[in-house]
Amino acid sequence: MASNELFRKTLIQVRELLKHNKISPEDLLTVCQHRMRETSALNYFTNAVEKHDPLINSKIDLPLKGIPFSVKDNFYTEDMPTTCASLMLENHIPEFNATLVEKLHAHGGSMMGKDNMDEFAMGSGGCESQFGPVRNPWNHAQLQEEGNDDFYVAGGSSGGSAAAVAAGATFFSIGSDTGGSVRVPAAFCGVVGLKPTYGAFSRHGLVPLCNSLDVPGIFTRSVADSAFVFNILKGRDVNDPTTIKQQIPNSRVKPEEDVKGMVIGIPKEHYIDGTHPDIRAAWDKAIQQFSDGGATVIEVSLPNQEYVQPCYRILCCSDVAINLAKFDEFEYGRRARHGEFKEELKYLSRDYGFNEKVKRRIAAGNFFLLEENKEKFINKALSLRRMIRGDYAKAFGTKDSSVSLFASTSGPLPCDLLLTPTTSVTSPLHSSFTAMADLDGAEEQDPHDLAGVPEVDYHVTGINIAGIPAISVPVGLSTNQHGHEMPIGLHLVAWEQQENKLFRAAKFLEQESNFQQWVENN
């Protein structure tokens, strides 16, 4: 089988081929390694794996036997650098594997490399890495041919993970999602990105950004692949007290899914100015498809949506300030060459080791945490968090004990799922993203920086605050002003631990949109 066909296949498809001995694990490895070299300009790996486990030829039938994957560089990998794409950790080699990495190895997966990312997972473009920005595979060759050194951003912070799967170097990858960091790059790179329920996946061995929001996520080329990997990774971990204690049922995706009887909510706050008309059209089309498929589509309201970003910024920056305190070159991190006294060394090391964005968030976090600011920021953010979660609970008609104050029993029809776009724009060129993110530069005037980059993270961040699952599914293409076709992602949201509903509806969208077919043919 020709390699240029093989790397476009989905995980489920190559599993079938492996199972029926149509290909061998070595073939698959060779194809992916070849593809990796071919697309190395995309800069999706910080470190590639040199030596592969000879076990891929073992007789034992393992669910992921011989399947190449990659892991974001903020997951601990034994004896292999884990840098968080920061100078601070450029030589940091952990002594143990993250639980998820361990699970993937145990299931026979074959790790290809560590995915490039925004430094310490702070960013939405995949551009703020000490290894240089990740490049979106979409139209990369065309731009090069046109002699343009610009490129489309992969999205962030798990940009490398999305690009590696989109480029065909791996069949799935693991990222982390704190405020949209899996779903945004998935939408930008035209792959499926799953952020499961908080606690469905272990965070043990994941270098934290914001402990109460961080969730590992999955990039795949199809919804069925996503469900397949989800079933392998989910479950309680004794090393992570925040993992869900109850058994999480397996999710199954049928070859053909229908949505009869489902209630799909369209949150009205998600109709925002600046949404690209093609994305708006794709959203409307999907609504029609659901409706035609026998689902009831209703409008719902998430009244506290406007507070999502401020709430997120305060919680996230505060945790950042704390979680990065240990990178002071005494406990962890690289030591500056100069500096005689402890405080001076610490200052120089941290000044050198962190990028501007990280430093700004640390400063903001320490500001929010001041006792005099407690009422104004932290305590407000904590109550906003309950209110935002309450909005979702109400939309899903759930009686949630932690938000009982807000969940009303006599609301509108309880939804099974919510549907929005993942991002309001398709992936921008690096040059324009930098300009857009320079709104981020507004941080310099406004030290609180509570806005974020609305075009990119407006739809996705509330999900992390509510702790519920969501998936981004590529549904079509949009031709931009440069004449390039870029993928559009739609965003499905479910109540906690209802990933099965998510997969069912996502599969439906996938089959209706024919996006995968299109990729395979091009």
Partner: protein, 515 residues
């Protein structure tokens, strides 16, 4: 001259008596090789998460109930930030917003034997810090993380205490409570139990003065020293018209307090909920069925299994016998109350003081030597009770008692069995003993009646009585086949001879008068 009223509140940090640390499986050992008891989490390795130690929670819950607190079924953990090298995370995990327990009290006996009460403001779980050692010579700072992350209960009192001696009595009572329920061994010399004292003085009893906090008092004598020094220092400042500064102070080896840093004004702990730890949910008998996992903790169960507390033993001992405070304190400190009370319950006839003394002089040193608790004592309380009873009721000779005690310890046989096997039972029935005495006196009367004439003709009275007594007792021993209880017999003989002497003296008096 003004009168000054001191007001004292304490914060007690007690290391929980668990095998491993509060959030990691590293072991908790005193004086272990530096950095040999450090799990990845204790070294704050990125990506590692805290796993709450179930045993630590159980001990903290037991502690809270023993301090008469209300235990919260839902509590949470916060991060308290400070940047010391021996705190690698950059924060300590503690319970600031929603502590484990609140609103308790401890009743204690003051030095003047008055019962007094201290209110417990709250009880919380938290981590201990590591240790920094400074090598001045080499110019190095060394860090030992063995203690980092060891579980503590912090017990915060209301400012209810008025003197250093009350503070000491209260701390002693708390130590006893923790030791009785086994939540902390309270060895201050090993750093397991440390006290912070908040001290203020005021000229007006109803107003609280500005307080200072003396941190980390790690020797028992230091509590009194620190508080007394601080009261004197503050009164002096106030008398001179100065103002006490709200600050943190340390205690020097010579018992003085010195300023460490100004407190509230300068330091901000920037508390924040810990996102890595879910709420600590505890269950009751009613809710335990609905618990989602098998490790769920039932507080009702802990409460009902709480061992008897020192205050209860004190009450029972006082009801039992009017012991002095010192004796009761001694019994409580040496944890012999339960053994003692079980013994007297089994044999109410024993002599209380003699029994206490016997345990203090014989059994306690033995147990200390063998490093055993009274629970583990090979001589059960019932058995020692039997032995004491038989001794005090003259069923065996006093001289035999120690022999039986020793053999019981050595052979694990019961004293009753040992006495039976050796035929050490003595006859203590007074009628029996008297009839033997009658018999011997009859013999003497017939064989050498002179001996019964008082005052004797050739000897001094004492010598004659002594000689006669030993003769009589010797004869009774033969007649009774050694079964007569020696001490009791001696008493009866003495009484009878005294009677004889008195009778004869009366006779002589009256005959002398008549002649």
């Amino acid at each position: 001259m003004n009168r000054w009223f001191p007001l004292i509140g304490l914060e007690i940090h007690a290391q929980l008596n668990t095998k491993s640390k509060l959030f990691s499986n590293a072991s908790k050992k005193f004086m272990a090789t530096p950095n040999s008891c450090v799990a990845r989490f204790d070294a704050s390795m990125p990506g590692t998460l805290p796993i709450l130690n179930r045993k630590a929670v159980e001990l903290a819950v037991a502690t809270s109930y023993a301090l008469n607190c209300q235990v919260a079924l839902k509590s949470s953990f916060d991060r308290k930030h400070y940047f010391y090298a021996d705190m690698p995370q950059g924060y300590q995990i503690t319970q600031q917003r929603a502590p484990l327990a609140k609103h308790g009290f401890v009743d204690y006996l003051s030095e003047s034997s008055k019962m007094k009460r201290v209110h417990i403001h709250q009880v919380q779980l938290e981590q201990d810090s590591g240790k920094s050692l400074h090598d001045e010579k080499e110019g190095l700072s060394l860090i030992d993380l063995n203690r980092a992350g060891v579980g503590l209960v912090e017990i915060v009192t209301s400012p209810d205490i008025r003197s250093s001696s009350d503070a000491c009595s209260f701390v002693k009572e708390v130590m006893k409570i923790l030791q009785y329920i086994g939540s902390c061994t309270c060895k201050m010399e090993e750093g397991e139990f440390r006290v912070d004292a908040n001290v203020s003085v005021s000229a007006d009893i109803s107003v609280m003065g500005t307080r200072t906090e003396i941190k980390n008092i790690n020797r028992f004598k230091g509590i009194k020293q620190a508080i007394d020094y601080e009261i004197t220092r503050q009164i002096k400042i106030l008398q001179e018209g100065g103002k006490v500064v709200n600050e943190t102070r340390g205690l020097t080896n010579s018992g003085e307090t010195v300023s460490m840093r100004e407190k509230e004004s300068a330091y901000d702990y920037r508390f924040m909920p810990d996102g890595n730890l879910p709420y600590l949910i505890l269950h009751t008998n009613e809710s335990i069925g609905k618990a989602q996992h098998k490790n769920a903790i039932n507080v009702d169960e802990i409460r009902s299994n709480l061992p008897t507390l020192p205050s209860e033993y004190r009450r029972r001992l006082q009801n039992e016998y009017p012991f002095e405070k010192d004796i009761i304190d001694f019994m409580l400190e040496n944890k012999m109350a339960e053994y003692y009370l079980a013994l007297v319950a089994h044999r109410p006839q024993v002599d209380r003081m003699l029994t206490f003394d016997y345990i203090r002089v014989h059994l306690l040193p033995y147990l200390e030597r063998k490093e055993l608790s009274f629970d583990e004592c090979p001589l059960k309380s019932n058995d020692l009770g039997d032995l004491m009873y038989m001794t005090h009721s003259y069923q065996i000779d006093g001289s035999i008692c120690n022999k039986v005690y020793q053999e019981a310890l050595d052979t694990n046989k019961s004293p009753v069995q040992i006495i039976k096997e050796n035929g050490w039972y003595k006859i203590s029935d007074e009628t029996m003993l008297s009839s033997w005495l009658d018999q011997v006196l009859d013999e003497v009367k017939q064989q050498s009646p002179d001996l019964l004439v008082f005052p004797p003709k050739r000897r001094k009275l004492e010598t004659a009585v002594k000689k006669l007594t030993s003769h009589v007792i010797g004869r009774i021993a033969i007649i009774s086949d050694g079964k007569a209880h020696a001490k009791l017999m001696r008493m009866i003989v003495k009484k009878r001879l005294d009677m004889l002497i008195d009778e004869q003296r009366e006779e002589q008096k009256s005959s002398g008068a008549s002649s």
